[in-house]
Amino acid sequence: MLSPSSTQRRLVRLFSAALCAGLAACNDKSITSYRVPKEPDAAQAPAPDAAASSGSPAISWTAPAGWQAQPASGMRQGSFLVPGAGGATADMSVVSFPGSGGDDLANINRWRAQVSLPPLAAADLPSQVQNLAAPAGQFVLADFAGTAADKGATRLLGAWLRQPDRVWFFKLMGPSDLVESQKDAFTGFLQSVTLAAGGAQVAVNTNDLPQNAPAVQPPFAGPASGAGMNSMPVQAASGASLLWQAPADWQNQPGNAMRKGSYALGGGAEVAITAFPGDVGGVLANVNRWRGQAGLAPVDDSGLGQATSALDGNGLHFTLVDAEGGANPIVAALLPWNGGTWFFKLTGPADAVTRAKPAFLSFLSTVHAP
């Protein structure tokens, strides 16, 4: 064996220092800046469904002169930047949601809150809205002037148009003077709206995932995006999904990040299947949440036995909650499984829920672990 020379020792130290420097430099988490050419389509992901890109939009309109069209987003069907004097701008949005889109009072009060106005009572509602007959249908109009955080005097012109299974919201919001000057343009915009025949069935770009999952991971797929997993604990997966057999006449609905399954049962009834980590507050809290949604009084521990019943099947133990007596009947089941809690919920109009209940209960008996 040879004893190391001073040159050898120096080489070892030099190598070690270079290695440490190299390892230290590998953590690339710096802010970058660059210029890119304007790409009108760049902000939009490829359309996830055939209908959205088939050239037959569900809705169309004629935008007033001067309104600058912006790319539509996951929530927005239409978006405009409305420029005014002195660099001021207002924002115009067209948003659509399936279902009822909330009641009128809730929508009005949501808009009022955005311009720092107090909520209205139900009795005051008729005096605060106007109707507008247009080729597309009967719009409900609202006009509120108030203030928005750090933006001073702000005005909001809003309108909605109800279809049997969908609601369209139109909102122009910005500095008071600018919005006032655009009031006629806003009304003209609503008059120009046309809905394609069968538009209610056209898939709309909501935050729901497409029904037909792509053959590969979507653009943002992958675990623990973003934060850099070296810097955060790796969380365990939520586990495998439960399996079930839905009746043939239940229509599968698009799921989303929270929903494990969703079905339309006809007559407005719907079954939603969700899962959350942990016990989500426990049985009593969830029972009372559902009873609250159904319009029933909460129960305490002593009343829990009467408000719930047990349902066992396939080695699974459901807690069944029957809240049919209220204004918004709910039949739901709660299932602790695999470290999480699964919720099966049947909602809809009273008669539809009553009709669907036997099928819902037999559906629960098909649920099993993989």
Binding site: M1, R9, V12, R35, P46, S79, L209, F220, M229
Partner: protein, 410 residues
């Protein structure tokens, strides 16, 4: 062993350390393989291989402590061990030049893997037929892009890695007239309209469309069939005070613009982008299956590549196992979507991709040289031995048998 050798270096140069490191590597690979069921392939790579230590949570608490060295640490120590042993135990001589070459090849191979881990970027490009793209998107990393759209000629982008949103503290950038203050960040969340949620909690957002929305944090999924939707809240603060707190989410693909000091901005939380000095247009996508089955026989993208400097404008066909290598990146045909109207290309950028080839060539060359030297020495000794035998023996009556091999010339 020499008593003059400093003790720490003696440990670093020891063969025992090499064996211990190799055994630990085997254990690491075994444990990671088992854990892949829970974490998925990316999670396992981050936790076990691209880390200095493997951390484990103390049951029931939020504390994590290191339980085993990670792949990065084991690889680094292995290189140090190999180099140190080389510098101490081996002395340069022509006779051992093959061993030197082989070991340099091995060290380069290890270092190359380390560099790949640090430098390789795996992105993807999704292009519709007829669409032109000039950027690829990260599979896993997210960024907050502050995009100034004031100028008609171009967009000015300031891209902030999402890791900085979780780190806390304000973020300043000279191009921005405001400070970005992260308020909250969720690696996965569900975003819904407020009107769709019963009893929604108060929103953290005070500006932008996020005011009308509710973000609910979700558990991070590692299932490759599921998607995480990073979401957060950021407050923008200018010299005159706060501009408001905005909801940012990968679910909002094109958030509404806002103006400040006469300039127009958009805030977008999106997959991290890598802009290219060229554009790719998907002209045609072909997806053939074996007749009577759903098994893909061939899927190929016919693309048009145009470089910004005007030197390249050509049509290229990318198909399975035939990637396009251009601009320091390799574009592989990875998938398809949207009823065969969208192609998915995997874009790999690895500046050190040639190192494994060089390493293997060095190892092969080193082995050839070393065996060649041994062979040469063997023949020379054998020839010398024969000559000595001939000198000692009396002259035979018959002629000596001829050598089967002629001696190499010196």
């Amino acid at each position: 062993m020499s008593s003059a050798r400093p003790r720490p270096l003696a440990v670093l140069a020891s063969l025992r350390l090499t064996v211990v490191l190799l055994v630990m590597s085997i254990i690491l690979v075994f444990a990671a393989t088992l854990d892949q069921v829970h974490l998925g392939v990316w999670g396992v790579q981050e936790k076990y291989f691209r880390s200095f230590f493997v951390f484990s949570q103390i049951g029931g608490t939020g504390f994590f402590f290191p339980v085993f060295p990670g792949g990065t640490l084991l690889g680094a120590v292995l290189i140090v061990n190999l180099v140190t042993a080389h510098l101490y135990r081996f002395k340069w001589s022509w006779k051992k030049s093959g061993i030197w070459l082989t070991h340099i090849g091995l060290i380069l191979l290890l270092a190359g893997e380390g560099l790949s881990g640090m430098l390789q970027k795996d992105n993807q490009m999704r292009i519709d037929v007829g669409q032109t793209r000039r950027y690829s998107e990260s599979f896993r990393e997210t960024e907050l892009a502050v995009i100034e759209t004031t100028r008609p000629e171009y967009d000015q982008v300031v891209a902030i890695p999402a890791a900085l949103l979780t780190a806390g503290g304000s973020i300043q950038q000279p191009l921005l007239p405001f400070v970005v203050k992260p308020v909250a960040y969720f690696a996965n969340a569900d975003v819904r309209m407020r009107s769709q949620v019963t009893n929604p909690p108060p929103s953290l957002a005070t500006a932008g469309e996020g005011v009308d929305m509710v973000a609910t944090p979700m558990a991070v999924t590692t299932n490759p069939d599921e998607t995480n939707w990073p979401t957060g809240y950021v407050e923008l603060v200018g010299p005159d005070g706060s501009l408001g707190t905005f909801l940012v989410s990968t679910l909002l693909q094109s958030p509404a613009p806002f103006t400040y000091q006469g300039r127009t901005f958009r805030l977008a939380l999106r997959a991290q982008r890598d802009y290219l000095p060229f554009t790719i247009t998907l002209e045609k996508f072909t997806h053939e299956i074996y007749p009577g089955t759903d098994i893909p026989r061939d899927f190929a993208s016919t693309i048009r590549l145009r470089s910004d400097d005007g030197r390249d404008d050509r049509q290229i066909r990318i198909f399975m196992n035939n990637p396009l290598r251009f601009g320091g990146r390799a574009f592989y045909q990875a998938g398809y979507a949207n009823n065969d109207r969208t192609t998915v290309l995997q874009v790999v950028r690895n500046p050190s991709w040639q190192i494994p080839y060089v390493s293997c060539a060095l190892i092969v060359l080193g082995l050839l040289v070393q065996f060649g030297i041994h062979l040469f020495t063997f023949f020379r000794r054998r020839l010398a031995g024969l000559n000595r035998n001939q000198d000692r023996k009396p002259a035979p009556a018959a002629a000596a048998p001829e050598l089967a091999v002629s001696p190499p010339s010196p």
